[in-house]
Structure formats: structure tokens, C-alpha cells
């Protein structure tokens, strides 16, 4: 009631501020979306025709040839497969492993709990740096191995803290009941804690899934075998090293001449980005909640 009244009591200056603010927000939204829209319409345009430029709002010669070429290219599809595999497996392993450790240290009776937390906190503020880390990966035999995407990324102390603050809010009664039934702590974690922690699991899964999907660095420095490189590393080589040769080499034979390396690049970018862009709005309410937990805990 009070809110409605105060809205009606707006002074002209405040109303003007509201309109100005709304316009500013619209401009920000436009500036955010347009660069992406520009890539999108160009990727749906005939490649040869797009070289003339001037396609700003809508495809001039609508064509799906670029996308057909992407899906027929063996190199791109192999890289895409690696990305999908590392994202699914990496996220599942990361969420389970990090949550499991967070659950263990969330239990107050755990002996050594403070020591474990100190060991973890130090890692947030100091590290060995790139070269010692590279030598470790080499010594572990993870160079040119698919596991380099999974094992070194299976834990994050930062994410552990987000899990921890969520687990502390779980009513102890839930666990007690399971304990009386004779369940051990691992079973309680899997059967009781995981099912009630879906909001935080969705948040961390999104964060880590996006990391796995977008990471090109791991594939760039630890992987030489091009059959094991993810799509982002493939695109990095095309974009940053401007090696259109790689793009052309990845083109399947028999592709129509209307597809240029530029239009193929844009279409690959669209295909690479689409899955994340489609998924994140559905998880928005979870990660906003995750941030709220974080900000309250400070």
C-alpha cells in the first residue's frame, strides 16, 4: 500500500529521473545485444555476399550453408565432441568431489577441521605459478591426455566455501534420522544432503560448466594432439593466430564455394556459444541466490 502511495506522490523531477533511467537501461541492453546480433545475422547470410559488408539488422541473402559446412566438418565436430565430453564429465566430477569435501568439513565434530580449512585458505592467496604447475602436469603424465581437463579441475576451494555456507543451513534433524537408520556418512551425503542441495549444486554446476565449456588455455598448452583439442582451442588458433588455413583445412570437401573462411568462423562461433546462451537463463534464479549466500556471509 505504502509503495503504491509513494509512487503516486512522485515529484516531476523523480518522474524525469525514472524515464531517464529506463532509457539508459534500454541503451545498455542494446549495446550488450547488438554486437552478438551482428555476428548472428552475418552467420546466417551467404558467405560470398557477406564479404560486401553492410549487413546490420537482417541477413541479406538468407543461407544455412555456413552451418551445414560446420556440421559436415570433421575437425570441428571432433573438437565439439571433446568440449561436450569434458564439460559433462568435468562438471559432474567437480561438483561431486568439491561438494563431498565441503560436506565433510561442514560437520562440526570433524577432527582436524580447522587445519583442513587453513590448508585450503592458503591456496586461495598464494600459488606456485604457471611454470611449476606445468612441470607438475608433465610429471604426472597428463600432457596430451584427456584427463588433464578433468583431474586438475576437479576441486576448487572457492566453490567449497559456497557449498559450505549452504550445507550449514541444512537442519541437523535430517541427518540424525538417517543416522539412526544406520547409514554411514557417505550414504547420508549421497542420499540426504545432495537431494536437498539442488540450488547450490545447480549454481556450481553452471559456474564450472561454463569454465569447462569456455576454457581454451588447457587445450592450448597441455595438448598437442589436435584430436584432443576442444572447440575453444580450435577457435583460438583461428581467431588469435589468424590461421585461416586451419579453418580451410577443417572444411569438408565438396562444400559450396559460397562459404568463406570468415562466414565459417562466424557460424562456428554461433554453434559454440548457443548451448550456454540457451541454458543460463533457466539457472538464473539459482545463481542469483548463490551470490546472495556469498554476500551475506561476506
Amino acid at each position: 500500500m505504502l509503495k503504491i502511495l509513494s509512487f503516486k506522490r512522485q515529484t516531476p523531477a523523480e518522474a524525469a529521473f525514472g524515464i531517464f533511467n529506463g532509457l539508459l537501461m534500454l541503451i545498455i541492453c542494446f549495446l550488450t545485444l547488438y554486437p552478438i546480433w551482428y555476428v548472428l545475422v552475418n552467420s546466417f547470410n551467404d558467405g560470398q555476399d557477406a564479404m560486401r559488408g553492410g549487413i546490420y539488422w537482417w541477413p541479406r541473402e538468407l543461407s544455412l550453408e555456413n552451418f551445414r559446412a560446420v556440421f559436415r566438418s570433421e575437425g570441428i565436430m571432433t573438437a565439439m565432441g571433446i568440449t561436450v565430453a569434458k564439460t559433462l564429465l568435468g562438471t559432474a566430477v567437480h561438483v561431486f568431489f568439491t561438494a563431498m569435501i565441503a560436506y565433510a568439513v561442514s560437520r562440526r565434530e570433524l577432527i582436524g577441521r580447522n587445519l583442513y580449512m587453513i590448508i585450503g585458505t592458503i591456496t586461495m592467496f598464494f600459488g606456485g605459478g604457471l611454470i611449476p604447475y606445468y612441470l607438475l602436469i608433465r610429471d604426472l603424465g597428463l600432457l596430451d591426455s584427456f584427463l588433464v581437463y578433468i583431474i586438475p579441475a576437479m576441486f576448487s576451494f572457492f566453490n567449497l566455501i559456497i557449498f559450505l555456507s549452504f550445507f550449514r543451513e541444512i537442519p541437523a534433524g535430517l541427518e540424525e534420522a538417517a543416522k539412526i537408520d544406520g547409514a554411514n556418512d557417505l550414504t547420508i551425503f549421497i542420499r540426504v544432503v545432495i537431494p536437498v542441495s539442488m540450488p547450490v549444486i545447480a549454481t556450481i554446476a553452471l559456474f564450472h560448466g561454463v569454465y569447462q565449456w569456455n576454457d581454451y588455455f588447457t587445450g592450448m598448452i597441455y595438448i598437442n594432439n589436435t584430436d584432443l583439442q576442444p572447440i575453444q582451442t580450435f577457435l583460438y588458433r583461428v581467431v588469435a593466430q589468424s590461421s585461416s588455413n586451419q579453418m580451410l583445412a577443417a572444411m569438408p570437401s565438396g562444400v559450396t564455394i559460397n562459404v568463406t573462411s570468415q562466414s565459417l568462423k562466424l557460424a562456428t562461433m554461433v554453434v559454440t556459444t548457443a548451448p550456454i546462451v540457451i541454458v543460463y537463463p533457466f539457472l538464473q534464479k539459482y545463481f542469483v541466490k548463490g551470490f546472495m549466500i556469498g554476500s551475506i556471509k561476506g
Binding site: 567449497l160 561454463v210 581454451y216 581467431v239 543460463y280 538464473q284 556469498g294
Partner: protein
């Protein structure tokens, strides 16, 4: 309630102590082994939890602490074909070499220049954006703005690099527009010129992270008590007054903590971003510490030298973190630790 309860417990136990004089702390060898046995029993009863926690500790020892130990090669002359233990000690030679290198000042200038401009422009903008977004009345409109402005955060720097390369190419849209408006006579290849590099880096970073960085402030704003606003409304405060006098002070703690973290990160460039946008033509503006470490270490194979440069960076970053933490603690009693 709490302190009172503690006092009464203490009173009861001291009464008991005066009447019976049992001292649980001091005991013979039997009492000691009894405690030991109880401790073992407790460990055994939480064996599942211990294994779960220790798996994490083991992971951190391998992936965090072994590389920290690996830093010793900064004080050696390490060659990749021999094990670290066989490498000869060279003391601080690697550090001296770095500080005597002609490239060092350029690298430090680029790193600090980009970071400080990011800090001055990029740090306040999400706060301002969150404050203004909070003033949007329509819940649906607000939600749409949020969804849209989060979008670029989910694009990788490789994709954004591809978008920028398309926009900034000599036949790209930026040149087309500037030519049409007669601001320039000939197309400019922006990514090939060092003088545009910092602007590109900073603008694209703000574009990508503005909405996302605002989430944490929006979360902090949403926990501000509505009673404060209602009281201010009754006192006749306008919208902007409430924004500056209630909302902003209420999120001061969040701002402080993020500021400490930002300060400690000034030697960190956004490696992912710069690696995508740098090239041999803009090198004089794009060579930052992280890129320098990557190149001298992994491309040129000067492992010890690159480790020394990286270590120097980590130590200064840690010092900045502790320093910023100390100063903000003195100033307004909010701090990280």
C-alpha cells in the same frame, strides 16, 4: 541469554569443584591412554568423513602445494632434461636478470597501466549500474535487463575475440561508421596499432562483465531493510536521496571487500583476454607480466627465469592484499580477515 547461561554453567561447575575436587585434567597414565582410546574411537566413528576430507587435502597437496615447492627452481638453473634436484643453485641471479632486462619496465608499465585504468573505470561502473537498476520499478523489466546484461559473461574470450576482430577489421562496422561520418579518411586496423590496445582491452572487459559484476551488489542491496526506506519516505526523502544516503552506505562492506580483492589483483592481467587480442604488431602495448612469463617460460624454455618473475609477482600481490586489508580495516572496520 547466551552469556548468562555460560555464567551459570561456570558457577555450577566451580561449586562442584569445591565440594568434590575431581580434576579431570590431571590423571595417571591410565587416564591418558583412556583419552587416547576415546580419541581413536572418535576418529573411527567419523572414518567416512575423514576419508572424504583427506581426499580433498591430498588433492590440494598435489595440485597446490607441490607447485609451491616447485618454486625452488627460481633459485636454480633448471634444465628440462634433468630432474630439479640436479639443477645447480644460482641464488638470486634470475631475479637480478629480470630487473636488469630492458623489457621489464615496458612489461610493468603495461600491466599496471591496464589494471589501474580497469580499477578506476571498471570498478565503480557495476556499483553505479546496480544502484540504477535497483531504481527500475517494473519487476519484469528489471529481470529482462539482468538476463540480457549477464549474457556476455557467458561468452568465452575466444568468441569475444572473434567478435572484436570482426568489428575492428578494416572492412568492419566501426570503420564503416567512422568513414560514413567523415571522422576518418582511411580505414584503421585497430588491433595492429599499439595505441588502441588498452582502450580495446578496457572497453571489451567492461562490456563483458558489467552486468555480471553487478549481481553481488544487487544481492547486497536486496538485503537492506525496507523499514529504512519507509522511514526515509515519511521523512520526505526523494529517490536519489535514498539511493545515496541509504542504499550506498548499506553496501559499503561489500564494496570494501571487493575493492581489497581488486587491489591485490592489479598485477594480474586478464590473461585469457590478452592472449586472444595480442599479436606481434601491438606487442609494445600488450606485453604484460603474465604474457611475459608464458613466453619466456613455455615458448623459450627459460623455466627458472619465468618462475622467478612469477614468484616476484605473487609476493607483491600478496603484499598488496595484506596492505589493502590493513588500511581498510583502520579506516572503516571492514576487512577480509
Amino acid at each position: 541469554m547466551e552469556p548468562n547461561a555460560q555464567v551459570s554453567v561456570k558457577a555450577v561447575s566451580s561449586q562442584m569443584g569445591s565440594t568434590q575436587m575431581p580434576s579431570p585434567q590431571i590423571g595417571g597414565p591410565e587416564a591418558g591412554s583412556e583419552r587416547w582410546r576415546r580419541w581413536l574411537r572418535k576418529i573411527y566413528s567419523q572414518r567416512y568423513l575423514q576419508v572424504m576430507a583427506l581426499l580433498g587435502v591430498a588433492w590440494m597437496i598435489i595440485f597446490n602445494y607441490i607447485p609451491m615447492y616447485g618454486i625452488i627452481i627460481a633459485f636454480k638453473e633448471f634444465d628440462i632434461i634433468f630432474p630439479v634436484s640436479q639443477a645447480p643453485w644460482v641464488g638470486l641471479d634470475q631475479f637480478k636478470e629480470f630487473l636488469g632486462d630492458d623489457e621489464v619496465w615496458n612489461v610493468v608499465r603495461n600491466t599496471l597501466g591496464i589494471s589501474l585504468i580497469k580499477l578506476i573505470i571498471g570498478f565503480p561502473l557495476p556499483i553505479l549500474f546496480a544502484l540504477l537498476l535497483n531504481e527500475v520499478r517494473s519487476v519484469l523489466f528489471k529481470k529482462w535487463i539482468q538476463t540480457i546484461t549477464y549474457l556476455p559473461h557467458f561468452l568465452s574470450w575466444v568468441i569475444l575475440g572473434g567478435i572484436l576482430a570482426t568489428w575492428l577489421a578494416d572492412v568492419g562496422i566501426i570503420n564503416k561508421v567512422l568513414l560514413a561520418l567523415n571522422f576518418i579518411d582511411t580505414p584503421i586496423t585497430y588491433l595492429a596499432e599499439p595505441k588502441y590496445f588498452w582502450t580495446i582491452i578496457i572497453t571489451s572487459d567492461i562490456w563483458k562483465e558489467l552486468g555480471w559484476s553487478a549481481i553481488i551488489y544487487l544481492a547486497a542491496i536486496s538485503s537492506v531493510s525496507t523499514e529504512l526506506y519507509e522511514a526515509a519516505t515519511i521523512d520526505g526523502a526523494g529517490r536519489t536521496q535514498k539511493m545515496w544516503n541509504i542504499t550506498l552506505p548499506s553496501i559499503k562492506g561489500t564494496i570494501t571487500i571487493l575493492f581489497i580483492l581488486a587491489i591485490s589483483g592489479v598485477l594480474n592481467s586478464n590473461f585469457d583476454q590478452i592472449l586472444v587480442l595480442r599479436n606481434s604488431l601491438n606487442e609494445s602495448a600488450s606485453n604484460v607480466i603474465d604474457v611475459y612469463v608464458y613466453h619466456t617460460g613455455l615458448a623459450d624454455g627459460r623455466y627458472s627465469y619465468a618462475t622467478a618473475v612469477g614468484l616476484l609477482k605473487s609476493i607483491i600481490a600478496l603484499g598488496l592484499l595484506l596492505g589493502a586489508n590493513y588500511i581498510t580495516k583502520k579506516m572503516n572496520e571492514t576487512s577480509l580477515f
